[in-house]
């Protein structure tokens, strides 16, 4: 593998992404953890551009680093978040979990480290959005409509779950 600009871009994006994840695990304040994860989301959008998926990259920035980060920050601000104390006696459990995750990572890595399909060159980068639109409205029209139903159900369900009970409001009035 020769050193190229593509490899350099991949390395920078991957390091930033992994660094955001490591900061998520190690920072002590909850708001800082969420902001650290924004780095990961933005650099993953760069990875998508490298994989010739421009539309997915734009959606990633819109949904993840826009919507989901903001909704998580609201969730933190609406609840009590200045409690940074760690639970006592959980060290053994953490070590065991770390070893388990490491074993899982090793098992998967054996399977993927020299994977190569010798795939033919694709033209995914030409008119990427148009290709996605054509595929959505020909092959995947029913899942596409079902997704809108899922989003509607999630919207109504979130409102009903998060609103106050009627009895409580009646008591206040």
């Amino acid at each position: 593998m020769t050193f190229s600009g593509e490899l350099l871009a991949f390395l920078i994006l991957a390091i930033v992404a992994v660094m955001g994840g490591v900061l998520l695990l190690n920072l002590s304040k909850v708001v800082h953890m969420v902001v650290a994860l924004v780095f990961t989301f933005v650099s993953l959008a760069g990875i998508y551009v490298m994989l010739s998926a421009e539309f997915v990259a734009v959606v990633q920035i819109l949904i993840y680093s826009g919507a989901i980060t903001i909704i998580m920050l609201f969730g933190i601000m609406l609840t009590r978040h200045n409690d940074t104390s760690e639970v006592k006696g959980g060290r053994l459990r953490k070590v065991l979990l770390f070893l388990g995750v490491l074993g899982f990572a090793f098992a998967v890595y054996i399977g993927i480290y020299n994977l190569d399909f010798n795939s033919p060159a694709a033209n995914l980068h030409e008119n990427n959005t148009e290709q996605i639109g054509i595929a959505l409205y020909t092959k995947f029209i029913i899942p596409f409509e079902l997704t809108s139903v899922v989003l509607l159900v999630a919207l109504i369900g979130a409102i009903i779950l998060a609103k106050k009970d009627d009895e409580e409001e009646a008591k206040k009035e």
């Binding site: 190229s4 997915v56 190569d116 996605i132």
Partner: protein
Amino acid sequence: MSGVPISAYLTLALVLFCIGLYGALTKRNTVIVLISIELMLNAVNINLVAFSKFGMIPSITGQVFALFTIAVAAAEAAVGLAILIALYRNRKTVNIDEMDTMKN
């Protein structure tokens, strides 16, 4: 094939998935657990888009599937946060080890 091989993308996705898994299993704050799950879903999306370019038969279907995953993940985050708000109103806590009503 020049440039970055598929195994590099898959390894990056694996590392992010493991960070998300460890965070989801060890963190105490429920919001952080939710956002770790989002990180795991993101790692899966990398795999889908990578196989859409470097797979046996490259096609646009992987990217379409990644878009569906993003939509469902957004819905999941909204509903999870609504459950968290409702729980916080009743129990006055967001720590995941104090949410053990069904245990007793």
